[in-house]
């Protein structure tokens, strides 16, 4: 859904051909979101149909012509409108972990608790990496792009933090449930 | 009811939690009230005892007639007895004897008309109150004497045994012919009294044909003033007709001065106590800020909150005041003996057998204590009422109660100062007769002055403190810097502690200075009048409680001069003479001789005039007090009554003398003998030849006369030491209350610092955390307390110097009627500063230890 707007936004800066478009996308948001060329080209096709994007052909020696894509005024309008609209839908929880949680045995919480710990450790390591990348980014470049990257990494960190907190809560509630069971059995 | 509920549910729990603060506050009020109660009780008891002494000796007499030291002709008795309206008129010989034995013991000897006297006094030698085996023998024999059972028991003498008594005619032996129960007159002078028949007494004391006193009672229905006038008219001029109460009045006047200064001191103790209460309650308000906020948020009214704090104060103050009453009784019991001794030595022989209770006055003092506490608690209680409900939810940053530094207080301080100054001005310019010339004005001025100074102390403290910052940092490093800043933080509260120290140190310094000035002046004077090497008298000059020693005959002079080593002998006679209702002290000596070796201190007039006019002429020198009160100057004259009738004397000079506050008259011995016909001498002042040993001369004198009479030859230096001791003893009570005041101020410091340490728990935790050692924390708090003491001490010393000067100029000078130079007692000043710093540091020890042992981990989580 938002690939469309991401491409529009990249094109709003300058005209690009397909390959450049992909590398620009990767550079900006690749951290969280990887696209293949197929997805890009199908999205561009759709955009052209909606008259938000047009293309010119660029002649090349020994190679097929390249399409240079550019945004139409209509496209700019649509982009501006999208940028100004808050996101209505909250992130869907379709994590693999949730499926595991659903099917784990609640009566023997041992393995589940172990999994929780491992999962947390994993998140922490990921956060550590993100933090290091963020710091590297901070050191390397100063500019609007690096700020965006930083903010995106922050988002990743906050999401991971939320997950860790949630995992911790799971742990506490599971333990409390086990304790309750123990005491009621006695 | 609501209030009681609040008290029960909230206050009791706090009282429990803040035990330490409670103990401090209770001790403060308790000590203040105790001081007041003790002062009151001691005053009453001593005064009562003096009154009793006089009343027992005077019995039912309505009027007493006296006339001159040497007595008056006994024909006067008959004259009085014949006057219409007179019921009884009985003769009295009043003499002081020295009971010789292991210990020198003064004895008051009353010579009375045994057959008539019971009409006046409550005893009779014939009824059961006395044990007189043979009344007829008592009357028939001249050596008969009656002793009180008390005295007889003490010296171990029974009926028919002999006692040796020192009299004017030398040593006499009397036979005890009976014992009196300690009632009525037998209670006078603590029982050290002997009774003789008047004729035997006249013989024994060289007063044949004359009397010392006539006691008169009236027939029923006689008008007092008419009778008094009638008696005065019947007698030649120069006789003194007065009520027995008139004599009490004199004692009262003397004690009055003592009482006034003690009251001032007592007031100050309470005043300092008020500071303690103010601080305790304000600290409690700060500590309970959140709780007050909650109460307010739950719908507690402002006035309810204020009432809660006042009610707490009331409860605590009532308890403490009652405790103070009990403690005051203890203090009184402990000190009454010393005060009585001091009064005995200085004014009148008295011994206090029991404390005089007066419930109203006890309760009044306790009430004053409670009221003072409530007044002190009003401001912090109102501050409590101003706490907003928000304080319950939000930690409102500590808002110092700036009331004590606000413009109202500055205004009040100025007002107090202004009133104090106008009181002083009014007192200064008022003529001696005007009602404004009342010591009360000075007392009020001093209290207001102190009030004013202490009101602006927090402001002064706020000014002074920054000046010390660099010095502290320089001397004590980080601890010093922090200590200064900590004090800065709660400047009002610490200022109050400073004010408390200031008051007590001011009191200490002012009394030290006045005492020192009096001592200095007295000794200067003493040195100027006592130039002889030996003082020869028949009794220890200081053992008889100001009563005249037994006089010696004039003939001794010639013989004494013959003793080898004696350069000169000067006779000295002391007497009393009435003048305008005053009992002036008559000091008689050989002026020509004295002017040779005594640098008498002359206030107005010329020395040559004295040397030229006084010897054997009708000229006198008078002291400043008399000159001031009677507006006399050299060249004026005054008429004094003599046994030969009134004589006009010219005033040759005004001299400095502290002998009597009623007035002192110097007279040449020849003039005196001419008019008074009194050949006796109280003291011979002997000047030893240069090169001769004083001790040898002294022994020679004792050897020469010792056989005939008991004699004391006191070295002048020794005498001065004795006088110094007596003088110092008379200030014991003042010092005791000063110390109580200092202790209360010390309690104030403990409360203030403890609160400050509690509030800073977290800060102290941080400091410990980042590497402050326990001893550094200890040092920091001790520096704070010592600094409070030092600033309070310095300001207090300065205030004390001024107040001492006012007291000196205003009270003592006018009272004593002598120029006493104001001498600052530098040693005492140093002591005061050391005491202020030392005591404060001492008070800081407990809070400092609390701070040093703070648990770091707990402190860091402390809110």
């Amino acid at each position: 859904m938002s690939i469309k707007y991401a491409l529009l936004a990249i094109l709003a800066e300058r005209d690009l051909h397909g390959y450049e478009l992909k590398s620009s996308f990767d550079h900006k948001v690749g951290e969280f979101w990887s696209l293949n060329y197929g997805q890009i080209y199908s999205t561009l096709d759709r955009l052209e149909k909606e008259a938000l994007v047009t293309h010119d052909r660029e002649m090349q020696e020994k190679r097929p012509d390249r399409k240079i894509f550019s945004i139409t005024p209509q496209g700019r309008e649509e982009l501006a409108e999208w940028l100004a609209t808050p996101v209505g839908k909250i992130r869907a929880l379709r994590d693999e972990f949730f499926i595991k949680l659903v099917f784990m045995d609640k009566d023997d919480p041992g393995p589940l608790l172990a999994l929780l710990d491992k999962q947390k450790a994993l998140y922490l390591k990921q956060m550590s990496k993100l933090t290091q990348r963020k710091m590297a980014l901070k050191k390397a470049a100063q500019g609007p792009d690096s700020l965006t990257g930083e903010l995106l990494m922050d988002a990743g960190l906050f999401h991971a933090e939320a997950d860790i907190r949630w995992l911790t809560l799971c742990e506490a509630k599971l333990k409390a449930a086990v304790d309750r069971k123990k005491t009621s059995k006695r | 009811m609501k209030l009681l509920n609040l008290l029960r549910h909230i206050s009791l729990k706090h009282l429990h939690l803040q035990k330490l603060q409670l103990v401090m506050a209770v001790s403060g009020i308790c000590l203040g009230v105790a001081a007041m109660v003790a002062i009151d009780l001691v005053n009453r008891s001593v005064l009562k005892s003096c009154e009793d002494s006089i009343n027992h000796a005077t019995g039912r007499a309505v009027l007493q007639i006296t006339g001159g030291e040497a007595g008056f002709p006994e024909e006067m008795l008959e004259r009085v007895q014949k006057l219409p309206g007179v019921e009884y008129a009985v003769p009295v010989i009043e003499a002081t004897g020295g009971l010789t034995g292991d210990k020198e013991r003064a004895l008051m000897i009353l010579g009375i008309d045994v057959l008539q006297d019971h009409h006046i006094r409550d005893y009779s030698i014939t009824d059961e109150s006395a044990e007189i085996p043979d009344p007829l023998l008592f009357l028939a024999k001249r050596d008969s004497i009656l002793l009180t059972r008390t005295l007889a028991g003490q010296i171990g003498i029974g009926i028919d045994q002999e006692v040796n008594v020192q009299t004017v005619a030398g040593l006499k032996t009397f036979k005890v012919r009976g014992l009196l129960n300690p009632e009525g007159p037998a209670r006078v002078a603590g029982g050290d009294i002997a009774i003789m028949d008047v004729y035997a007494a006249q013989m024994a004391f060289g007063k044949v044909g004359s009397l010392d006193r006539i006691d008169v009672s009236f027939l029923p229905g006689q008008d007092f003033d008419t009778m008094k006038a009638r008696i005065e008219a019947a007698l030649p001029p120069g006789y003194d007709v007065d009520t027995p109460a008139g004599r009490t009045r004199q004692v009262e006047l003397l004690l009055g001065r003592f009482r006034t200064s003690m009251r001032l001191v007592g007031c100050m103790a309470l005043f300092v106590g008020m500071y303690l209460i103010y601080n305790t309650v304000s600290i409690s308000v700060v500590q309970r800020r959140r709780e007050i906020g909650i109460l307010r948020a739950l719908g507690g009214g402002r006035m309810q909150i204020a009432a809660l704090f006042l009610a707490e104060t009331l409860a605590v103050a009532t308890f403490a005041s009652l405790l103070g009453m009990a403690l005051g009784l203890g203090f009184a019991q402990a000190s009454v003996g010393v005060v009585a001794q001091s009064v005995t030595e200085m004014y009148l022989r008295t011994s206090v057998s029991e404390l005089v209770f007066s419930w109203p006055s006890l309760l009044l003092n306790a009430g004053i204590g409670i009221l003072a506490s409530l007044i002190a608690a009003v401001f912090p209680s109102l501050a409590a009422a101003r706490v907003t409900p928000v304080s319950a939810i939000r930690a409102v940053p500590y808002a110092a109660d700036d009331f004590l530094r606000g413009w109202r207080i500055k205004f009040a301080a100025c007002l107090c100062l202004l009133i104090a100054l106008s009181c002083l001005v009014a007192f200064e310019v008022a003529s001696p007769a005007s009602p404004a010339k009342n010591l009360g004005f000075v007392v009020v001025a001093v209290i207001l002055l102190l009030l004013s100074i202490s009101l602006i102390t927090p402001v002064l403290f706020a000014w002074t403190l920054p000046l010390t910052h660099n010095l502290l940092a320089f001397c004590f490093g980080a601890q010093g810097r922090l200590a200064g800043l900590n004090l800065q933080k709660n400047i009002t509260r610490n200022g109050v502690a400073v004010a408390a120290i200031l008051c007590s140190i001011a009191l200490f310094v002012s009394s030290a200075n006045t005492v020192h000035s009096m001592r200095t002046s007295l000794f200067e004077w003493f040195d100027s009048i006592i130039r002889a090497d030996l003082l020869v008298s028949s009794g220890h000059p200081l053992a008889t409680g100001g009563a005249p020693t037994i006089p010696m005959p004039a003939e001794m002079l010639g013989e004494m001069e013959k003793i080898p080593g004696v350069q000169s002998v000067e006779p000295f006679r002391k007497g009393r003479v009435s003048y305008n209702g005053r009992k002036l002290m008559l000091e008689v000596f050989d002026v020509a001789l004295r002017m040779d070796y005594c640098p008498a201190m002359i206030a107005v007039g010329k020395r040559e005039n004295m040397a030229r006019l006084l010897p054997d002429q009708d000229y006198v020198a008078i002291n400043e007090g008399l000159a001031l009160k009677e507006r006399l100057r050299p060249g004026d004259s005054l008429v004094l009554p003599t046994p030969q009738g009134p004589v006009r004397f010219g005033v040759a000079a005004v001299i400095v003398s502290f002998s009597s506050d009623a007035g002192v008259v110097w007279l040449d011995i020849n003039t005196y003998r001419r008019h008074w016909r009194d050949p006796l001498v109280d003291t011979y002042e002997v000047l030893v030849k240069p090169g001769a040993k004083i001790k040898e001369v002294r022994q020679a004198i004792l050897d020469r006369f010792g056989g005939e009479r008991r004699l004391f030859a006191l070295e002048a230096a020794e005498f001065k030491v004795e006088v110094r001791k007596i003088l110092d003893r008379s200030f014991v009570m003042t010092n005791a209350v000063n110390i109580i005041t200092l202790v209360i101020a010390g309690l104030g410091i403990i409360v203030t610092l403890l609160a400050s340490v509690f509030e800073r728990t977290r800060e102290i935790g941080i400091l410990r955390g980042i590497g402050m050692t326990r001893s550094q924390v200890l040092a920091m708090v001790l520096i704070e307390s010592a600094l409070i003491g030092a600033i309070g001490g310095v300001l207090g010393a300065a205030a004390g110097i001024v107040i001492g000067w006012i007291e000196m100029e205003g009270m003592i000078r006018v009272d004593l009627g002598a120029s006493i130079g104001y001498h600052v007692h530098y040693a005492a000043l140093l002591w005061a500063l050391l005491l202020a710093v030392g005591l404060s540091a001492l008070a800081g020890i407990y809070p400092a230890r609390r701070a040093a042992t703070t648990n770091i981990v707990e402190a860091l989580t402390y809110e």
């Binding site: 710990d117 450790a121 998140y123 922490l124 390591k125 956060m127 550590s128 993100l130 933090t131 290091q132 710091m135 901070k138 960190l157 906050f158 991971a160 933090e161 860790i164 907190r165 911790t168 506490a172 | 940092a473 490093g477 980080a478 601890q479 810097r481 922090l482 800043l485 900590n486 800065q488 933080k489 977290r762 800060e763 941080i766 400091l767 410990r768 955390g769 980042i770 590497g771 402050m772 050692t773 326990r774 001893s775 550094q776 770091i856 981990v857 860091l860």
Partner: protein, 229 residues
Amino acid sequence: MIELNKVGRMYRQGNREVHALKDISLMIGKGEFLSIMGPSGSGKSTLLNLMGGLDQATAGEVFMDGRPLHAISDNELTLIRRRRIGYIFQFFNLLPLLTAEENVGLPLLLDGLPFSEVRPKAAALLRQVGLHDRSEHRPEQLSGGEMQRVAIARALITGPAVILADEPTGNLDSHTSEEIFLLLRSLNEEGQTIVMVTHDPKAAAYGTRIITLKDGTLAEDMVIGETAS
């Protein structure tokens, strides 16, 4: 650098014994940036306090630079705190009466150095934390982040062997917190050993090693980054 050997800390609550820490063994090497995590009441702060000599263990041994913190007098412990350890607290814990410069220099002042000597050092550190224009300000005139930076400068002034931080950003917003962590991280990259208690995974992620406490015991110990050498 810091070595804990079977360390326990027990409190008495009435008649009950509460074990805040049980049998903890841990080695912290030079240059590490260790985060201590765990739920509330798991003993994180207690552990930090033991390492910092604010509190003493009731069992086991704590060594700092080879000195046994569990067996020395309060005075020696205080001197170690003063000279070898830098503290950063959650509530900044600056002394409200002192200027920023004085607060920074306080450990040296307590050590008896004259202010004239301490001052340039404090100024340099304030510059390092970016507060050179705030040296005369008092804590109440500073923002939360600024206060914490002053606290960091204070912790650094003695050139401590280790910096101990207890929830250093517990009272700060995320952006300000990040600045503080970046500052700590850059100190660590220069070789400063840091031990930090935090419940914030974002904060822990700045470290090189994370240990997790549960019920007073060491539950997990993982290295997540490279230790600066």
